[in-house]
């Protein structure tokens, strides 16, 4: 082991996992290379594309721009923790229904990001598209703004917004 190796204990999709490697390891590389959770994708590796979006303690972040070792004790949710092909989460089902992807590479990040975004809307958070900061109302422009951290090179944006609009309407 590297002399700089350090330890952290993370709860990934409900399971306690131990990190003991070079502190340079990003959370993204630990999830993919260390744990084999390859649903989370590496796109730009610089926080610009959102393909690596995961949830940390319920909040969406770019897994490429954070060190695994900094997440001792944190609860991480990846796309594998949200749903699977035989048990789709409602958001995943909405993406299928509305054709919210073509190549699919950005989709795990889109789904993780949207999962947290819906929560942010329910909590009442505003966005740059919000007219009244104290009483946000949600329309397509709001959804686009709130999802601007997830790039889709196939350009499936209109269908992604359709999927998320439906998810919002059916949210509890």
């Amino acid at each position: 082991m590297d002399s700089n190796a350090v330890l952290a204990s993370l709860v990934v999709n409900g399971e306690t996992r131990r990190f003991a490697s070079d502190p340079r390891t990003t959370l993204l590389d630990f999830l993919r290379g260390g744990l084999g959770l390859t649903g989370t994708k590496k796109g730009c590796d610089h926080g610009q594309c959102g393909a690596c979006t995961v949830l940390v303690n319920g909040r969406r972040i770019n897994a490429c721009l954070t060190l695994a070792v900094m997440h001792d004790g944190d609860a991480i949710t990846t796309i594998e923790g949200i749903g699977s092909s035989d048990r789709l989460a409602p958001l995943q089902y909405a993406f299928v229904t509305h054709d919210g992807f073509q190549c699919g590479y950005c989709t795990p990040g889109q789904i993780c990001s949207a999962t947290a975004m819906l929560e942010e809307i329910q909590t009442g958070w505003a966005s740059a598209a919000t007219e009244n900061l104290l009483a946000p109302t949600i329309d397509r422009e709001e959804i686009s703004e709130r999802m601007s951290g997830n790039i889709c090179r196939c350009g499936a944006y209109p269908n992604i917004v359709d999927a998320l609009s439906e998810a919002l309407e059916t949210a509890p």
Binding site: N4, V6, D22, P23, R24, T26, D45, H46, G47, G50, T53, R59, R60, I61, N62, L65, T66, L67, V69, M70, D72, S113, A116, M117, E120, T123, G124, W125, A126, S127, A128, T130, L133, L134, S144, E145, R146, M147, S148, G149
Partner: protein
């Protein structure tokens, strides 16, 4: 990325000791790690300060004290800030993405580094990254660069949004260092490049930001207008944070700050003063004052008329006239 040692710090004293011994503090990491991947930043040691108890917003002295580790998301969402300091919420929400704002912290955001492409390209000269190597932007591609307060050593801009609102609000930065605690006004925290462009701000190597203090609410109409190349997730070409109080069709008080124009959030007391007690017909006079010493470097010449027009548009909206 170059190898580094990692230390998780449990309290402020340990964190201050670590930075005094040469460690770089890391909190959200969204800017620092990005620059470490590019090897623009090459710290030997990182002190993880992200668990220090500095993540709350408290009422203090009729204003608010925002802990240095409050995330951009939490700051923008705080109901007191949305109600009493909307320009700050607006500015934060105009920057980055939901994912980045969830990690970026109040202290770290103040310290984010320029997005000048010569700064991040190790094959190019850059006095900020490698003092004495020259400035590639001066005669290079300089579309995003400064039109105010630049030097022949550096024409980079400060890229942030949050600090522009803080400068308009006249907030202050609470810093702890070897000499104890001190407050620095946000308007004086960032530096102009001069002959030392490697120094972005007044923070010493052994200092830590512990909080940002907002003065008592000033009311008025508060706006943040950001002009950029795309409508979301892009840095400002020009931005204006404005707080304007009206009294019977005249401006009772104005506090303006500008982003994208300089190496620091730009605040010019003469611009605030010329607007006070005047009618909106004097918007051009404010723009004249703001831009009296403006200078373009070729690709960024457009920023001079863009700043004028953005200021006029913001004043028209803020005054309702």
């Amino acid at each position: 990325m170059k190898s580094f040692a990692y230390e998780r710090t449990g309290d402020l004293g340990a964190a201050l000791t670590a930075v005094s011994q040469g460690a770089r503090a890391i909190a959200g990491g969204t800017n620092l790690l990005d620059l470490m991947k590019l090897e623009v930043e090459t710290p030997d040691k990182l002190a993880d300060v992200s668990r220090l108890p500095l993540a709350s917003i408290e009422a203090q002295d009729e204003g608010l004290r925002i802990g240095a580790l409050v995330t951009n998301s939490d700051c923008a969402a705080d109901l007191r800030i949305r109600r009493d300091y909307p320009v700050l919420s607006r500015a934060i929400l105009a920057g980055a993405t939901g994912q980045l704002r969830n990690k970026a912290t109040t202290g770290g955001n103040l310290c984010q580094r320029t997005r000048c492409p010569y700064f991040t390209d190790l094959t190019q000269p850059c006095n900020k990254r490698a003092p004495g190597s020259g400035c590639g932007a001066l005669h290079g591609f300089n579309r995003i660069h400064a039109i105010l307060g630049a030097s022949d050593q550096c024409i980079a801009t400060y890229p942030g949004d949050m600090a522009i609102a803080l400068a308009a609000l006249d907030a202050s930065v609470e810093i702890e260092g070897p000499g104890g605690k001190r407050d620095v006004p946000v308007r004086g925290f960032h530096r102009l490049p001069g002959s030392e462009p490697q120094r972005d701000n007044e923070l010493g190597a052994d200092d830590l930001i512990t909080a940002v203090r907002l003065p008592r609410p000033v009311g008025g109409r508060q706006l943040y207008r950001k002009v950029r190349d795309r409508s979301s997730y892009a840095f400002a070409l020009v931005s204006v944070a404005a707080i304007v109080r009206m009294n019977g069709g005249r401006i009772a008080g104005a506090q303006l700050a500008f982003g994208g124009l300089a190496h620091k959030p730009w605040h010019d007391p003469a611009v605030d003063a010329v607007l006070t007690d005047e009618t909106p017909s004097l918007f051009d006079k404010a723009a004249d004052l703001l831009l009296a010493s403006a200078r373009g470097y070729g690709h960024n010449d457009f920023k001079i008329p863009l700043a004028r027009r953005t200021l006029r548009a913001v004043l028209a909206e803020a005054t309702g006239l």
